[in-house]
């Protein structure tokens, strides 16, 4: 069983406590945009996802814990979590992800 770091509980918890909740950072169109949006725009918002192979920004839900949603960077090939961060904070840049990955490897080497 692998563990996921929850940014709200601030601890590593078993994966079975979490649920996957789709791609992160998809912004819902605001009230002004909505009436002028075409069906195509809507379907793009609702259904079309990047489906990235590699490091993917996605939402997770700690439903059997603090009951909060948070964002995570997970590698869809290796299933390794690079980092997790609180909902509402900006998308992590490639540089931040690189740093997090290096710290993870360094931490692992220590133990």
């Amino acid at each position: 069983m692998f563990e996921i770091h929850c940014p709200y509980c601030n601890e590593k918890r078993a994966e079975i406590e979490f649920s996957y909740a789709g791609e992160a950072h998809i912004v819902r169109p605001n009230a002004k945009q909505q009436p002028v949006m075409s069906d195509e725009d809507w379907s793009r918002y609702m259904f079309i996802r990047d489906n990235i192979r590699g490091e993917h920004a996605e939402r997770w839900w700690h439903n059997a814990g603090c009951n909060m949603f948070f964002n995570a960077i997970r590698n869809t090939v290796t299933d390794k979590f690079v980092m997790t961060y609180k909902m509402g904070s900006p998308r992590r840049t490639a540089k931040q992800i690189d740093v997090a990955r290096e710290t993870n490897t360094a931490d692992k080497a220590k133990t």
Binding site: N10, R13, A14, I16, E17, A64, G65, C66, M68
Partner: protein, 182 residues
């Protein structure tokens, strides 16, 4: 009447090293309060709401457990229910918050004895050593496929709370483990 009777705990559950009993006569409330209101809310209700996720303020009369960033579970003796109802009625008018009486939704088990942590670890992956899970720590988690709330009340005793409909499952699971292992 509370619904603790929905689960009858027969004979079993008493071995030398671990025992499971039903916790009866409790009133329970689920609170959701905005971070900005917490200080005023505490003053108004007189509740000792802890501020760190996973921590609790325990007492024999009213215990407050923090489960999430804005979520608390209040467990009180049912003798306090009328008083708390009044306190919360006033608070719900003064604050934008959610207060739900869940006394009948949950059922509590007390698991105690030197093997208590081992019994819980059969279905729950948390590290229950005293360093990682000290007395007073609380969390929602999973026991096999049922969601539970786990609280350490003493070095060798735990309060396990689950939804009423999950209680027979939990009881039978405990029973099976205890009859086959201990």
């Amino acid at each position: 009447m509370l619904f603790d009777q929905a689960v009858d705990i027969p004979e079993i559950f008493k071995s030398e090293r671990v025992s499971v009993t039903l916790i009866e006569g409790k009133a329970r409330y689920n609170l959701r309060v905005k971070a900005a209101d917490v200080t005023a809310f505490k003053k108004s209700t007189g509740l000792k709401l802890p501020s760190k996720i996973g921590s609790s303020s325990l007492s024999k009369v009213v215990s407050c457990l923090k489960l999430g960033p804005d979520e608390w579970l209040v467990i009180a003796n049912s003798t306090q229910q009328k008083k708390l109802d009044k306190v919360f009625e006033k608070a719900s008018k003064d604050f934008i918050c959610s207060i739900t009486d869940i006394s009948h939704r949950n059922i509590g088990f007390e698991v105690s004895g030197e093997l208590a942590a081992k019994l819980i670890n059969v279905g729950c992956p948390l590290d229950l050593s005293l360093t990682a899970f000290p007395v007073g720590k609380v969390t929602r988690t999973i026991f096999e496929s049922a969601q539970i709330m786990l609280l350490r009340t003493g070095e060798d005793s735990f309060h396990v709370e689950c939804w009423r409909s999950f209680a027979p499952y939990l009881r039978d699971y405990f029973k099976r483990v205890m009859t086959t292992r201990y």
